[in-house]
Symmetry: D2
Subunit: 113 residues, 4 copies
């Protein structure tokens, strides 16, 4: 991830794009890219979404690249380590959704979200 962030920073600086890359704009671009990713799945059934054709999978992979590029860009601007942020949130989620209460119970998952 660190190498990726360094490369993205160079890419941005070589093009003098820092002026457009406010955290606000990057957050907006991240949503737009995430939506482009979701667009590939929107008319598929859940089952179909787990059995993509090689072409579709390649297109999805590209969108995932875009999402991570904007996320890394945003993190670089804000001085946030994305991997550490995810580890820390995952620990928090362990407390929020304890296995003993969540697993195999009648509670609907959606109520925990």
């Amino acid at each position: 991830m660190n190498e990726l962030i360094r490369k993205i920073r160079t890419f941005r600086q070589e093009r003098d794009w820092d002026q457009y890359h406010s955290p606000k704009n990057l957050a907006m671009a991240l949503v737009v890219e995430a939506s482009e990713l979701a667009e590939h799945f929107q008319w598929l059934t859940e089952e179909q979404s787990g059995n993509l054709s090689p072409d579709k999978l390649a297109a999805v992979q590209e969108e995932i690249g875009d999402v991570l590029i904007y996320l890394a860009n945003l993190c670089d601007k804000l001085g946030i380590d994305p991997i550490a942020a995810a580890h820390s949130k995952l620990e928090k989620n362990k407390g929020k959704y304890p296995v003993s209460r969540v697993r195999g119970k009648a509670y609907k998952y959606s109520e925990y979200k």
Copy 2:
């Protein structure tokens, strides 16, 4: 990233949540989390978005954690390496937006996007 993906997989399996985590649902959840991240910035000016208070920054960091967790989850389900996908997209972008054509020219950035 690999360690993160392993931990997320364990978290998901311990709770028996694989049944909800179709790629379609994960892609949708990713957009929702990305929007929650963007919500922190939506009424700020671009300048303000670069000068967040410590409290706001902590809240933003948590949302970034959520975004990366869902992205990692989706990649794990699809068998995609997110870091490799981003490197590969970045290389493609270098060809699409060559420094010599983009930097310091009158072309508006928005036309390249």
Copy 3:
């Protein structure tokens, strides 16, 4: 719709919120509200999404209100009539997806989108 737009305009002006309501910010807020709407459906099956409980339906209705308020706000700022825009787009879609080619054919819907 016209009465709604007038009321929204008054609401905005009484609060002196025009300064925050640039089209850019309103478009971003619209995505955020649309995502909050989608969040109600993200872990449901498609079938469940057509059989909401009265409580859930009331919550969804409120989010739909938010989406339309921001859309109306944006249209008011840009001088666009949303109903006319939808009629015009629907006419365009009739040409793009002719019944004879689309209905009951092997073409997958997703390829048309």
Copy 4:
């Protein structure tokens, strides 16, 4: 709005697309269209977003048409009147953001959102 909803229903039924149009899928499509709308604004300054060229405005109008079409489709499926939902939410917002507390005060708008 009622006439629009009737036309959209006919459009959908003539193409036998009801099978794809679960509320879940329509909500997802609505987010995707709202993001396509936001994409037009993402690299503009707030000021630029209020001064669109005629071409850009025409493109934005088309995206607004798409957003309203999906919103109307979703409302038709759920039996919700979108205009009534917006009026009702606006009344609720009047209580939530009273003019006397919000207008011209030091409170930042973002804290109310």
